[in-house]
């Protein structure tokens, strides 16, 4: 079981992030007042991702990667987005902060993932799964993208808990 989850959890996270991306973009565009701000949100994400990537790469003890916290962290961001029902005045400031957190965590996760044995296998699988998933989702009519974003957030939190339990069992 341990072996399976070691293989599948990162794949679920990677595939999920790509699949959720279009929905996330719709939400992000809705809360951006201008295209400039929308683009700046992306820039903030990218800079933060570079930072997160290097944080992991520079880590001395890579076995202690706390990846379950990364899953939970990303999941919490998506769940929080699901709670935002109406735009409010300070939302752009909050979104900027969420973009930085998301970028930082995703950059860290990606750096960790590239150093896993299964990474190259996942790369191929994730492209295929995303392709089929997106064809499937194209037939699903949605009223608001936040429904999927929240579901994905919860899934990530679950992955985090699973990973935590797995690590605990492994250490015992």
């Amino acid at each position: 079981m341990n072996d399976k989850t070691t293989r599948f959890l990162p794949l679920v996270v990677t595939v999920g992030q790509v699949v959720i991306f279009p929905y996330y973009i719709i939400w992000l565009k809705q809360v951006s007042l201008t295209f400039t701000l929308f683009a700046w949100f992306f820039a903030a994400f990218s800079f933060a991702a570079a930072w997160g990537y290097r944080i992991f790469q520079s880590k001395k003890n890579k076995d202690q990667s706390f990846i379950f916290l990364i899953y939970v962290g990303i999941g919490m961001v998506y769940v929080l987005i699901g709670y935002i029902k109406n735009p409010f005045e300070t939302l752009p400031y909050m979104v900027l902060l969420l973009q930085v957190i998301l970028g930082l965590l995703q950059g860290y996760f990606r750096a960790w993932h590239t150093e896993q044995e299964t990474y190259h296998l996942h790369a191929v699988h994730h492209y295929l799964i995303v392709g089929f998933a997106m064809i499937g989702f194209s037939f699903v009519t949605i009223i608001s993208p936040v429904v999927f974003i929240t579901i994905f957030g919860l899934l990530l939190c679950l992955c985090g808990v699973w990973e935590f339990i797995r690590k605990r069992k492994e250490s015992i």
Binding site: F47, R54, S58, G103
Partner: protein, 489 residues
Amino acid sequence: MKKLTNLFKKPWFLGSIVVIFITVVLWNNPIEKRKYGLSQSSLVTDYTGLLPERVERVVVADNREDLQRIVKRANDNGQQISVAGLQHSQGGHTYYKDGVVIDMRTFNRILELDERQKTIRVEAGATWEDVQEALLPYGLALKVTQSQSIFTIGGSLSVNAHGRDIRFGSMAETVEEMTLLTPTGEIKNVTRDDLDEWMKYVFGGYGLFGVILDVTLQLTDNDLYVIQTEKLKTSEYESYFTQLVDHQNTAMHYARLSVAPSSFLNEMYIINYNYTDKQDQKDFLKKEQGVRLSKIALDMGRQGGALEDLFWAMQKRYIASIHGKEITRNNAMRSESTFMEYTKPGRVEVLQEFFVPVDAYEDYIHNLKQVISADDKTDDFKVHNITIRYAAKDSFTTLNYAKEDMVGLVVLMQHGVKEEAVTNATSIIQRWTDVTLKHGGTYYLPYYRYQTKNQFRRSYPAWENFANEKLRRDPNEVFQNMFYDYYIK
């Protein structure tokens, strides 16, 4: 290059980039603007959005002949017409149920500028900013305009607005000539000595006496002023202001009255623009400055309590810091406005303005303390700012708010939009209006209709004359709006 590549590998460096970037983004985050007006997809509103209404259609003003045809057809078909500019009035003055709205914003050309006579002829849909831009190269400025340049000329004249100038009288008095599309569809050139006295009804006539097509405005020099600021007690203001008007060395003036709990209605800050005998040598109109910082400060003040005290302290510090600085007349007449944007769902910020005779000011403010609470932190109805302006005696327009030299209190207030909250706000504002009337004052009409019909009639005793003239000049009542419907009809 290698050094740079190595630098980019350092997590602290990448972290610094993130921190710097988010600081830049936070500072430049655009301010959300209120969505209102004719561009709404279903119901038309004005700036507050409190009176949404369905209209038959919106006609974009293009040329005089088309407008004339629309008015004549409306007379024949029994249609109603309203006139809209930038719709900053707040009481449904620019639209009417199932009526036709003429959108004047595209009717905005500068027609003629006479440098020697110091006059400018401009179409009514132009903004004061358009006029200022046209005047700048000639070293000229407006005699009277609003303190912000975002409004249309036609709109400001229709509400007979006023600003910071204390020397040139009312805005209506600075108009030499006007081209008017009358309610029966005639295009008339109207001068100040016109026997029919059209100007008397059109200015401050809230769009009920036809369409202002263009006006010729008197101009003055774009003088350079030095800013003088002073802190006063409310009790000192009457004598201070009387002396200020007599001494003639101040061109423009306004003040702020504290609404912060610890100095509530007791402290004031004065801002004067004093003559320097110099004129502007540089061709520039200031753009909005410090918008983000001003918005953060105002948002803080909106919280009430200690934060409102802090906001007042910041305002005082800022006002003291501009003492002695020089500014041109044009720039003194174009204050920032974006920082006041407020878009919180379920709440609305509105303006009200009350006028009292200069010599009644102290007593009036004293009595006002019984009407509004010093600390409105937990109240639904909140007062954020009171600006004091001077409104010179106006014996020209019919619905005149300054029957003698008046002090105007421009009040920025906030309340919820649910029925209970609006009822509560209405009750407070009606009590405020009663206090104002008791001191021989009036209130301003371009805002939301909180006041009762009786309060309107007591404030504007000439309303009957206004109503009779309306029926005489517009027998088919073609020009209509919600204000007319509610108070005058």
